[in-house]
Structure formats: C-alpha cells, structure tokens
C-alpha cells in the first residue's frame, strides 16, 4: 500500500541525526523505518513513522527542511528468496525502483520493505495484483 515517508535534509549527518531522533522522541513519534542517503557534503534522512503529519510539523517547527514523499510498503516473505521474488515481479512488470530499505514492521512471517518507485500508481497496481501488501499498516 501507499504510505507517507518523511525526507529530511541533513547538512552534517552524524551530528544532526541525533537531534532528529531526540525531537521525534519528545513528540512521542515512533520511527518504523529509516535510511540515509549521503554525499560528501550532505545527506537525506528518510523515515517512516506512526504519525507522519505530526512528525512533519514537529520537524519543520524544529528548523529542519523536511517534506513527505509517497512510497510503497511491500510485504516480503521473511525467508531466502523472499525479496528476490518481489524484485523479479517488479522487473517483469517494468516497475522502476529508485531505492528501497527495510522497516522494523513485521506482518506475521512477512517483513515489510519500503520501495520508492518511479511510477507510484503502476507500483501500487502491481503490489495489489500480486497480493504483496494489502494489509500493511503503521
């Protein structure tokens, strides 16, 4: 299913990351997934939280540049070959992946993986057709 991810610009990744987590803790926001893309000069922190609207407001009020992006939460069987199967489906159906990362979420014996895809609508359709994430919730 489609969920909201929050992206945050971090100039100094190491030092500022702690401030983000501290800020979210203060607002009692639970981080469910997290990844960092960084370059030599700056980084982008991507998180999935239980209360995205509240988190976005808290971050912006706290002086961070942040925005929400829609991503796909996909259920992947937690066993060898689980991710490979999903990747193969996406490849065959021409769903182009920009990046992906795993979440802490678990749905029975399935892991939840966050996918940022080029064409969100197409991705959503394929996920539904293949029963890959209908019941995920954060």
């Amino acid at each position: 299913m489609i969920i909201k991810q929050i992206s945050i610009f971090l100039e100094n990744v190491a030092g500022r990351l702690a401030e983000v987590t501290k800020l979210l803790a203060k607002h009692e926001i639970n981080i469910r997934a997290m990844t960092i893309a960084d370059t030599a000069d700056f980084g982008i922190l991507r998180i999935v939280v239980d209360q995205p609207e509240k988190a976005l407001k808290a971050l912006r009020d706290g002086g961070f540049t942040a925005k929400t992006t829609e991503v796909l939460a996909v259920e992947v069987e937690d066993k060898p070959g689980g991710l490979a199967r999903v990747m193969e489906i996406f490849q065959q159906t021409h769903v182009n992946i920009e990046y992906l990362y795993v979440s802490l979420e678990k749905n029975k014996d399935k892991a939840v993986v966050i996918f940022k895809v080029e064409d969100l609508k197409l991705g959503q359709k394929i996920v539904e057709e293949h029963g890959l994430g209908g019941t995920v919730s954060f």
Partner: protein, 433 residues
C-alpha cells in the same frame, strides 16, 4: 626611468593651468555633443561658462556607474560613431556592461599613460614584457600591450592562464617584466617550483600588478618568491583602463596621470570634496577623453590623495593604495562580482528568495576561492540526493557562465546562516591581503 619628464615633472602651477584649459574644453564638448550631460548641466542650473577655475568643477554633478549602464551602449558618445576605433567593456551588476569607447587619440592617451606606468617599473625598449593580463574586452591585456608598443619593448601577449606555458616562456625568452594580477604572480611562483624551476634565478626584474586588491605583506611575499620589484598599478575600464595611476620606485603611493585623469576625493555620503590626506571616495574626470568622456565619475574606490616631493622627481598628485570600496563589490581573481548578481542567479535557479552567504578565501594556491553557502528550503528540497546535486551543479554552471568565475556551492540547513538585524550579512571575506 621617467617616460615623459615634461608632463610628469611639470611645475604644479603650470599643470593646473593645463588642466583648467582641458576642463573648459571638455565641458564645452560634452554640453554640445552629449544630451545626457547637457540635461545634467541644465538640472544643476549651470552652463560651460560657469566653469572658470578648477574649483568650479565642484558645480558639476557626479556621474555614476548606474548612469553608464542606463546609457548603454552609446549614450555618452561625444564623437560621431565613425571616430570610434576600439571598444572595451566590463560586466555590471545587472549584466548590462559598462562601455568605454576610444578614438584614435584616446588610444594614444592610453598608450602614453601605460608607457609612463611601465617606465616607472623600469621598463625600457630593451625589456621583454610577459603580459599575463587577459586580452579581450577586459582592458588589462591591451592596455599593457599599447604601453609596451610605445616604449618599443618586446611584448609577449600571453594573456591569462596557461600556466605551464607561462613558465616555459618566462624561462626561454628571458622575461624581464611580468604583468598580471598579484595573486597570479604567486600562483606562477608555486607552479614553477612544482616543475622544478627556480623562478628567482630567471631574468625577472619587475612586475606591474593590479586589477585586484593586495597589500604590503603580499608585496613582500611576491618580491621574495619571484625575485623582482613589485609595483602597484591602478585603473578601471570606465576611466580608460590601467594607466590611471601607478607606483614609482619609491613604492609610496601611486602617481596619478592627472594631466589626463583629474582626481578628487569626496565624502561618499555628502558628496563634499575632501582635502589631501582625508579618506573618501575617489572621483575622476577624464580631461582629454574624446569617445566617452566622464565628468566626476564616482569610482566607489576608497583612498586619499596627497602631494609630496617625491624623490623620483615627478610632481603629480599621489593616491594611497586602495583601502576598499564604498559598495559591496568583490574582486575575485580580477573579476568584479556583486553579491546581488549571485542572488539573482540563485533566485533564477531555485525560484525562491534564498538565504545565502558568500565566503571568499585565498587558499594555499594563492588564488581566490569562492564558496557560496545556500540554505536548502522546502520549496526546492527533493527527496533524492541526485535532485539536490543537480540544483547545485546548475548554480555552479550559471555562476561560471554568467559571472566567469568558479564557485563551490555548499548546501546547508535552514537557519545555518546568521540573520542580522536590517541588512543581511552576505559576504565573509577571509582573504589576508
């Protein structure tokens, strides 16, 4: 060596009579030929007849750089277009260039001024001048070239850059006089060292350095590292180019070629003329200029004038080495840059009114390094590093193509850049010059 003792060592009283005659002639010419000036005279309620003494020049309104831009390209032309033999221009704040158009006689005056400048640094017809000022619309390259031609010295028109070849030529053609920006001279010295060449052991004896701010400390460093005598030269495109003033062997102030360029120093706030020794804004009137004459042009450069009995024998008024500017113009590797130009580029690329800070440093390479810190705002923030990298390289590219300088763009978090009350601090100049 004094190139033109008659003009440069003329008794001051005699020179003042000459200046007055030139001034009277100038105001009559521009009043008749240039509607822009006639209108200004009329608004000030004066006619050329009101200029009866040199002091009367204070009745004439100032001319500003903005006015030069507004009259682009030929609004100040005082001769028929066919009389123009050469045009130079410098970039302005808004991208509209500032034009200087020269008649045959204007080029002769420029050549004469530059011959005096080069001669002050000891140049004779036996010298080999390596000219590493840029040739083109910039006046540095051709200005030196014309002066060298008049002296009859051997001029090697290297233009700027191409460092390895500069060193090769300097060694193989036994260059005696180097002309370039002061920072480039130090860059050359370092580069020569890296190539295993001792630049001090070559034939260099003097250098004419200008087009960017420098200091006594830098002079010491240049003289030591290159093994030559370093002279400060001054000029600006609007007022002919280099050759307006330069140092003699005393290295104590720059002799102004005041028979051509009449200087005043004013209080930039009130416009009042200041006495010798008082710091203020330098103003020039081009006494003999035919193509695009300037009356009381405000240079925005800060200095003071002084009369001394210079042991060199010249009687011309001197100006102190520049102290700075009345505006926020930066000179980076000889290129004039205004923060507002950078702001416009940022706005065009990002579509927002960005918070930014310009940091200028003179690094280990001795060349000016420009870094621009830009706060990342929600409006142009993208979820992907690629998106931000694209914005960054686009800004770098735009600055390179529009301003002709390389800048490093550093993306920073909001509120990183200090907000000051009133006018934002846009520039930190860390150069030790």
């Amino acid at each position: 060596m004094i190139w033109n003792p008659e003009a440069e060592c003329m008794p001051p009283e005699q020179r003042r009579r000459l200046q007055l005659a030139h001034l009277k002639n100038l105001v009559e010419r521009v009043y008749e030929k240039v509607p822009f000036y006639r209108k200004k005279f009329q608004q000030a309620g004066i006619t050329p007849k009101d200029i009866r003494s040199l002091e009367d020049i204070q009745k004439i309104p100032f001319t500003t750089k903005d006015e030069l831009r507004e009259t682009y390209p030929y609004g100040l032309l005082a001769v028929p277009e066919a009389e123009i033999e050469e045009v130079h221009m410098s970039s302005g704040t808004t991208g509209t260039p500032v034009v200087d158009a020269y008649t045959k006689k204007d080029i002769d005056v420029w050549s004469e001024s530059m011959a005096r400048t080069l001669a002050m640094a000891g140049t004779t017809r036996n010298d080999i001048i390596q000219n590493a000022y840029g040739y083109g619309l910039f006046t540095g390259g051709l200005g030196v070239h014309y002066g060298a031609k008049l002296i009859g010295a051997n001029i090697i028109p290297m233009s700027s850059g191409n460092t390895s070849k500069q060193i090769l030529v300097m060694r193989d053609f036994k260059t005696t006089i180097l002309t370039c920006t002061p920072s480039y001279s130090l860059f050359l010295a370092e580069a020569a060292k890296e190539e295993g060449i001792d630049i001090r052991s070559l034939s260099l004896k003097a250098g004419c350095f200008g087009a960017e701010p420098w200091s006594e400390n830098m002079r010491k460093e240049i003289e030591e590292k290159l093994g030559l005598q370093a002279y400060d030269i001054y000029g600006l495109t609007e007022i002919t180019g280099p050759g307006v003033s330069s140092e003699c062997e005393m290295k104590n102030g720059l002799h102004i070629n005041e028979d051509f360029f009449y200087p005043e120093v004013i209080d930039p706030e009130t416009g009042k003329v200041l006495p010798d020794g008082a710091k203020g804004e330098l103003v020039f009137t081009t006494l003999v200029k035919e193509g695009t004459p300037l009356l009381r042009y405000r240079t925005r450069d800060i200095t003071f004038l002084f009369h001394d009995e210079c042991p060199c024998g010249r009687t011309t008024v001197k100006m102190h080495r520049l102290f700075g500017r009345t505006d926020d113009m930066l000179i980076i590797r000889g290129v004039n840059v205004f923060p507002s130009q950078i702001e416009q580029i940022l706005m065009a690329v990002e579509g927002t009114d960005p918070h930014y800070l310009i940091v200028v440093e003179r690094g280990a390479s001795h060349l000016d390094e420009l870094e621009i810190m830009v706060e990342v705002e929600a409006k142009f923030f993208t979820d992907e590093t690629r998106g931000l990298e694209t914005i960054r390289s686009k800004i770098e590219h735009e600055i390179k193509s529009k301003l002709g300088i390389s800048a490093r763009i550093k993306l920073v978090e909001p509120k990183t850049i200090e907000r000051s009350i009133g006018k934002a601090k846009r520039v930190i100049d860390k150069r030790k010059i």
